[in-house]
Amino acid sequence: MSAKSVSRSRGSSLMAYLFLAPTLAGIGIFTLIPIVGSLVLAFFRWDIISNPEFVGFQNFTEAAADPTVLVSFGNTILFVVIAVVLQLGLALLLAVLVQERLPNWLRVFFRSAFFFPLILSAASVSIFMGYLFNEQFGVVNWFLGLVGIPAVPWLTTPTGASTVIILVYVWQNFGFSFLLFLGALAGIPKEVYEAASIDGATGWRKHRNVTIPLISPTTLVASVMAIISALQMFDQPYVLTRGGPGDATRTVVMVIYETAFKRLEFGKASAIGLILMLLIMAVTALQFRLSKRYVFYQ
């Protein structure tokens, strides 16, 4: 390699680093440093006001023995399972309907309409939904009353509150998965469907044997992102129910917030945060491991 090309190569590398610098600085300052800080803090007792005190693994053992923490993990896992299944199922169903049954101009409309809730603030949506699902004055119970169904205590019973939180979460988040699926469906060559038709595949069988395998890489991405997002559910239960009634809708992130800012146990909150991070990493790793068996790359 000539001296000139080496110099040009170095110049290009420098330019590349300069372009990457703002993003790397952002990740470093706002992601990496807080992660490292949280990792360190998990081994200390710290109430913000006094000096931190090293306590070893005590925060982890206390978190593991705290019934509220355990319940919150149970709630979160239940919410994730139901919400992610609903979110992906609804998104895929609507994507197939929009892609196959609608003209192009309507497809554009629905693409925007389904994505719209995602750009709204989750807190605002939750406040609004709180009005809709109010037992006494909510529109939902008013409509149910029209068909003779008595008022449902949506937000004040464990089952009702969990149902509303999952519905609100899915309504607000399925649009992203929908867009991913729509893109994947548009990328399937028509010839594949034609070949399947010639082989006698129709309706559901065509989707089972052609659509689902061909969009499986997208399904993997959508499910990984949906699970990571749902494991961090906070706004909906915090605004709608404050985790109640009892602990019925208390999620892990809510407990992290309460432990840190209400109980001033920042070390324990960091420990719970790290446990959640490990859970997210484990679930994601499992998904990628399973993907070798179920994901089909063309």
Partner: protein, 477 residues
């Protein structure tokens, strides 16, 4: 590529370089904005004051600051209005500022956080009150000692109450009259109250709710516990405080009750009176006379009450302006003292609940003398008249709870707001130990379950409340 192209066109590298230079130039030009150094007062030697609130009442605050700065030429003030869902949320944001190393000099603190601040963050004002006792005499003569006692912690005073609110009972006169009910007596009991709710329900139609309440420390289950002369925490009083009481409240009829401040160190959810009060509320819910309370609810309450869909609800003087803005005339509703308990000690006391707020000087404040001047001015009649131009709270000064503030917009019996203190000396503050955050979480979590199901569920929820409170009182702060 031809020579002409090389000469005439800008190369990609040159273009990128120009963009880079442009970005650097723009960053330099915008530096004051990016760093916030163009925000008035930042970086200067100003007294920083954190308050809960929005820009809604900015004009009154600006007038207060302007007058304070005019009277104290050497002191510049910067108000930081911190938008928060509730007091707990506000305190969390203040704690974040403390952790970031940028604490304000003064914080507006309500009863909910008074002991947290007193224990960890605030500087006592005993020396200033004692030094300026002649200036302060007029203030204390105008303010009920129970409000001051709420800011006394282990014998030291940390704040001067500026405003407060009692949990009184608002009732909708149209619903009340439709049920042909006479005006409730001032010494009515919970039995009378329940009978009135049943009558209103019978006379009403549609989605009418006789009693609407929210699940929180103020106005939730606590007034019903106080009415029964109990609480979910064991209430004790610390010794001390004579330096203040003897100086300013020596002649007060309440003098013998005044102490070095409240202490809440033990849970009390297993007391029979607590069970009794919870069971009363559960009965209201079961019989459709009261709502199941939502956690943090109450957003729609003013509108629902103004539209006549709510019969009664606990609230204080702060509600008058909201109801006025919602279109209610003073004759559309009235206010009565909270009912007393029909039996036991609560029957004689008719104890009520209140919450108050005032400014606290932070331990870290650079110029505590300037901070004290702010506290003194805010508590002066002049300062309070500047800030309380509307009845959206109850001023701590008795003389300001008057015809001018409440007579036009307020209900017929607006005098009951301050009478709640003057006529019932046992009236007490929101129970809020230094661990208030976790205590409130424990209460809200278990109240909703306790009043929404069977008696067995209530017993289980109260046991859970007792356990959670034990843990909460052992936690930090």
């Amino acid at each position: 590529m031809g020579d002409s192209t090389r000469r005439g066109d800008v190369t990609r590298r040159a273009l990128l370089g120009a963009i880079g230079l442009g970005a650097v130039g723009a960053t330099v030009a915008a530096w004051p904005r990016l760093t916030g150094s163009d925000i008035p007062g930042r970086g200067e030697d100003r007294l920083t004051i954190a308050i809960i609130g929005t820009q809604a009442d900015a004009e009154a605050r600006a007038n207060l600051v302007k007058e304070f700065e005019r009277q104290n030429p050497g002191i510049k003030v910067r108000i930081m209005a911190i938008q928060s869902v509730d007091w707990q949320d506000f305190f969390s944001k203040i704690l974040t500022m403390v952790a970031a190393g940028t604490p304000p000099d003064i914080v507006n603190v309500a009863t909910e956080g008074a002991q947290l601040f007193a224990e960890r963050l605030a500087h006592p004002i005993d020396e200033y009150v004692t030094r300026d006792k002649e200036d302060m005499r007029e203030y204390f003569a105008d303010v009920h000692p129970s409000l001051v006692e709420a800011f006394m912690y282990r014998g030291h005073l940390y704040q001067l109450p500026i405003d407060w609110n009692a949990a009184n009972m608002y009732y909708n006169t149209s619903a009340w009259n439709a049920a042909r009910l006479p005006d409730p007596a001032e010494n009515w009991t919970q039995v009378d109250f329940r009978a009135a709710l049943a009558s209103m329900k019978q006379a009403a139609s549609g989605d009418f709710v006789p009693y609407y309440w929210t699940n929180r420390l103020f106005g939730g289950v606590v007034p019903w516990l106080y009415a029964n002369n109990t609480s979910f925490l064991k209430e004790e009083k610390a010794p001390g405080g004579e330096w203040l009481w003897d100086e300013f409240y020596g002649d007060s009829p309440a003098r013998s009750l005044l102490s070095g401040g409240y202490l809440w160190q033990q849970p009390n959810a297993d007391a029979p009176e607590v069970y009794e009060s919870f069971d009363f509320l559960r009965g209201l819910v079961v019989d459709g006379l009261g709502v199941r309370p939502e956690g943090g609810g109450g957003n729609t309450l003013v509108g629902q009450f103004a539209s006549g869909r709510v019969g009664t609800t606990p609230a204080g003087g702060y509600w008058v302006q909201g109801l006025h803005e919602a279109g209610m005339k003073p004759t559309d509703y009235d206010v009565q003292f909270f009912p007393r308990w029909a039996t036991g000690e609560g029957s004689e006391l008719q104890r009520h609940q209140f919450g108050t707020a005032g400014y606290a000087i932070m331990k870290t404040a650079k110029d505590k003398e300037a901070a004290w001047q702010w506290l003194k001015f805010s508590a002066s009649l002049e300062g309070m008249k500047l800030i309380f131009s509307n009845p959206n709270t109850t001023p701590s000064r008795r003389s300001m709870v008057n015809e001018e503030l409440f007579g036009v917009k307020g209900p017929k019996h607006w005098k009951r707001f301050y009478d709640t203190l003057d006529r019932f000396p046992a009236t007490g503050p929101i129970p809020a130990p230094p661990q208030q955050g976790s205590v409130e979480t424990a209460l809200i979590k278990n109240v909703s379950l306790a009043v929404s199901g069977s008696e067995a569920q209530m017993k289980s929820a109260l046991q859970s409340l007792q356990r959670d409170l034990e843990l909460a009182l052992r936690s930090n702060a």
